[in-house]
């Protein structure tokens, strides 16, 4: 093992022994962002954006942003190892697969109408 590799190993072991400690300030800021997001979600539900699809889009975008904040900071995924991040990503990826193929069928039925009618 070269000195360089040994040094890298040591650095890695050191990093593992002292995991990243997120400052309390970060948690408070994330908490406030989540609260503001909730308030905006409720407020936006009373606004007519012209089409109800836009209301749904706004509500879901805020929910996704809130969920991302929770995953990255409260659940420490921003500071987690690559293999943990892979597990998180694969969970989401399979959800996308579930939704994509389900909706590709159910939500598109009737788009082309019924032949002969």
């Amino acid at each position: 093992m070269t000195d360089h590799a040994a040094a890298a190993d040591h650095a890695e072991a050191h990093e593992h022994a002292h995991p990243h400690i997120v400052p309390v300030r970060t948690y408070i800021l994330v908490f406030l962002a989540l609260m503001v997001g909730t308030a905006i979600t409720v407020g936006a539900s009373y606004v007519d954006f012209g089409h109800s699809y836009l209301n749904n889009l706004v509500a879901l975008l805020i929910a996704f942003t809130k969920a991302t904040l929770v995953v990255l900071f409260f659940m420490h995924v921003k500071y987690s190892s690559k293999v943990t991040q892979l597990a998180v990503g694969s969970g989401f990826a399979f959800l996308v697969i579930l939704f994509f193929f389900t909706f590709a069928d159910y939500l598109t039925r009737g788009w082309l109408g019924t032949p002969g009618s």
């Binding site: 948690y27 408070i28 989540l34 694969s90 969970g91 939704f99």
Partner: protein, 231 residues
């Protein structure tokens, strides 16, 4: 070999405590991935039926209590903060703070469940629980949907909305009911001084579980309570 292999929580099939912690975190995330798909099926069912019966979902949604739902969302987010602070205290080895923040989380979780009980009772009182006693007439569709055939269809479909409301919020509440005694168990272990900067995986793992339950609610609240008028 590091000194972490002398820690009482260390189990010998891991190289050291940090590898042990890594395995625990990874395992929990695999479990959460499974939970995502578990709830995902319900969210998919929700999307399919809401797409089929937009009026039924809109009118059903307007019989939920938005102030209670919003307040509960805030309570649950607050409980995620207290849980994050418990994990933070564990990483710093502050025993009393771990217990304090965990008990605060249990308290807030109980408040959430208590509010849910009030909301469920309202639905039972108003005959909005799917089944033989379900009364769709009060949903107020008569004034908005003139065609009696379409109205009858929407009124029947409103049972699907309330079925999804009860199964989704019920499964979410079940997760919290399971989570509360688990947190109390971890709090007791924290009180006994089992966690410190070197080893506090159980606090982290129960934290991941609690935050996941919070995320589910973050989606349930707008999808069930805040359905816009379809147009």
């Amino acid at each position: 070999m590091s000194s972490s292999t002398h820690h009482p929580a260390y189990v010998h099939h891991f190289e050291n405590l940090s590898e042990q912690k890594e395995a625990a975190t990874f395992g929990m995330w695999v479990f959460i991935a499974q939970e995502v798909l578990f709830f995902g099926g319900l969210f998919a069912a929700y999307a399919i039926y809401r797409n089929l019966h937009p009026e039924a979902f809109y009118f059903g949604s307007h019989h939920l209590n938005i102030p209670l739902g919003a307040a509960n969302t805030a309570v649950l987010i607050f409980s995620s903060l207290t849980m994050a602070l418990a994990v933070h205290a564990a990483a710093l080895g502050k025993r009393q703070q771990i217990v304090g923040w965990l008990l605060a989380t249990v308290f807030l979780g109980s408040v959430f469940l208590g509010v849910k009980v009030v909301e469920y009772k309202e639905k039972f009182d108003h005959h909005l629980v799917p089944g033989a006693s379900f009364q769709a007439g009060q949903l107020g569709m008569a004034e908005h949907i003139a065609d009696p055939v379409l109205r009858g269809k929407a009124e029947r479909a409103s049972q699907i909305y309330f079925s999804l409301y009860f199964s989704m919020t019920g499964l979410h509440a079940l997760h919290m009911i399971i989570g509360v005694p688990l947190i109390l168990w971890i709090a007791a272990r924290a009180w006994l001084g089992q966690f410190g900067p070197e080893y506090h995986s159980p606090v982290e793992i129960i934290g991941l579980y609690w935050h996941f339950v919070d995320i589910i609610w973050i989606f349930l609240f707008p999808l069930l309570y805040l359905i816009p008028k379809p147009h």
